[in-house]
Amino acid sequence: MTQTKRPLPALLPAAPIKLPTEAERQLTNGLTVIAIRRPAVPLVEVRLRVPFARANLARGAMLSQTLFSGTEQLSTVDIAAELQMVGGGLSASVDPDRLMISGNSLAAGLTRILEILGEVLDGAAYPSDEVSTERDRLVDNIQVAKSQPSHLAREALLRRLYGRHPYAVQTPEPEQVRAVRPAQLRALHAERVHPAGATLVLVGDFQPKRALDTAEAVLGSWNGGGKDVTLPTAPGPEAGPVLLVDRPGSVQSSLRIALPGVPRTHPDHAALQLANLVFGGYFSSRWVENIREDKGYTYGPHSVVDHSAAGSVVLASAEVATEVTGPALLETLYELGRLATLPPGEEELEQARQYVLGTLKLGMSTQAGLASLASTYAGFGLRLDFLSSYSEQLASVTRDEVAAAAAKYLAPSGAVTVILGDAEKIEAPVAALREVELE
């Protein structure tokens, strides 16, 4: 190729992040409602986050599975059909911090979707027949999850990371689910599904103030009360031997590494985000370029700063071919160590900075993206304006600060490492690098 090189077009200067029009109100029953306008499509997004810490694992999972299984007036099918009529749908999930209800509908259906949501919040009946159906389904789902390497690796990592903290076990055992009775679900609902501390985020094609009025008119009567339950601070990663979890016959090893993280409001947050990106947080990171694009050990390695209410942690994951498990771990430790001991290059830092600033804009460019972001932030007591201050921090973090964050948080000596794979084949190469403990 002897052609003259064509010049890469310059980027036009990016405008600062522009926040959408929003309104917020706390209802007398304690529910906080945030309404955000994005009228690009005639739809609305709904996110309701209810604090749910310390809820019994199996009952909590069953509650989310059966919340829409009927009320005094409506059956499962009625609820689904009523929602469909306005192009709507709702679903629930739980994690150790909260019960989350998500959905969407045509914009003209906002009142109706909130009415159905309100009816379920006030009057979910947990009919025995439906509970029994969903119980069997949940047991089957757990059984399938337990055959997934990604799930097994996550379970092992959580146990290793969190010890006796409630974050240690996040999936109930089948027999615990089998023991759940409708009366227990009604009791859990009565105790925990309340507006105090809950946040409803609405995003869509509406006037925010009018959406607040609608939410107040429909959900203002949702039964108040509830109790304030918080979790103790989660322990940070405590380094130790590599935990090897045997999965005989595995053609890949699931490599999981946890490192300490900080919450979004911590002064090191922006610097750690950038350090994580440079390590493995996006495709153009050192880790991906090394173990995928140079060595072909893996398809999709990735690291992320993961935030929960009781703690933040950096999580790195890769599925690597069984025969290169040792070399892949070696390169991973090398990249962590290199970043923790040498400052990142100026250009690669700028690249990571532009990436995170740009993807923030992409994330808020859809109704669904805005709704999830606003709801996540609200769960940590933040509002969308945090985006502006966060962007400013990201823009001003220096190379030294990123180097310091890498040294403090990403040093391989602080890592908790779990590898799920064919132990017979991978133990020796892993043990050549790190002390190994077999599970």
């Binding site: 190729m1 739809l43 192009g87 399938v144 153009s284 995928r292 599925e319 532009q354």
Partner: protein
Amino acid sequence: MARRIKIPATKYPVERFTLDNGLRVVLAPDRSAPVVGVAVVYDVGIRSEPEGRTGFAHLFEHLMFQGSENLEKLEHFRHVQGAGGTFNGSTHLDYTDYFEALPSGALERALFLEADRMRGPRLTEENLRNQVDVVKEEIRVNVLNRPYGGFPWLKLPPVMFDTFANAHDGYGSFEDLESATVADAAEFFERYYACGNAVLSVAGDLDVAEATEMIKRHFGDVPARPAPVRPDFDEPDLTSERRESYADRLAPLPAIASAWRVPDPIDDFDAYLPYVVLAEVLTDGDASRLVERLVLRDRTVTSIGGYLGFMGEPFEVRNPTAALLQYHLPPGGDVDKVLRAADEELERLAGDGITTGELGRVQARMATHLLRDTDAVLGRALRIAVLEEQRGAPELINDLPRLIGEVTPEQIRAAAAALTPQRRASVEVIPGGGQ
């Protein structure tokens, strides 16, 4: 019951033009957020790969990211992400796409990157060997090391179809992947990656005149090469039921999937569309026919999926394609019983028909899904690119919610009546106990 809700639509202006070299371009401006989606779609997919080269279309997609005339390996990724954007590519039965979502100030950079690889990717031995390894890991993650890997999209076509084009494994065998050569790649590029065989689309925060100028600047001198003639991949419909099974050593529970041939999605869109709606009538949520019957009442299955096209892309697939229903069963579940019950529900729908209320609510939900897809600039860019490529009708993006809303109860009834056991191909997963 409540009044039927009016199904709304979007009004994206859709502009199209063709460059002198044959590249087709579609623009859909919408300035509601400062981001753009850019997509280049080539009219080549899994069905076009040569015998002995299973998985080649997908492998080649990987090679398109490995450097080009003015770009070293890794530069493409860095330039997109360093501009605040995200990127990817994917290989389908009938097309291969490459795309970016970026802040709007990075539009010209994305166009430069796409034009550069359209002129010529760097096809080297080293990159080929590296990406063969990466693709093998991708197949291990998605197929070999997990339960239900490739079910049903890789497992059902060989039951339903007889020709190599339609029946082979689109991810490819390791043997075929390993024996791929740089010469194969060069030939594949020459033949299928012609600018006359491609569509470029941009959606989002753009000025039409400015974007047109930029596109001419970067793509205008890509040498003209015409599109190859696409073979007719059609096969005769099944005249009797086909049924196969395979053991999945990682799967803990039984599963089964069935498929039926449907009318040509492009040339017979009016006849095809009712099947798209029927799939939702049968499977969308707790109020759907099959979920209500099989999950909630009979409890013979734990989950149901229903969709058009093996990759679940009803508006991005050509003939021949299929309507699929797939089920996961509880331990010891009886797949025959499930198929029989599904047949009964189809017969009931064909016989008794559907009320306008039931149909209307399914149509409303489908409109929400379509509009949600297009709220993202990238979803919009990809859809208009494929609609232009396969139909020359990108404006269909605005019309789809309405057209779906116009499907009648009579059409649903006729579609249900066509899904008979005699025309059905099924594949069953025999669980290996999750060990």
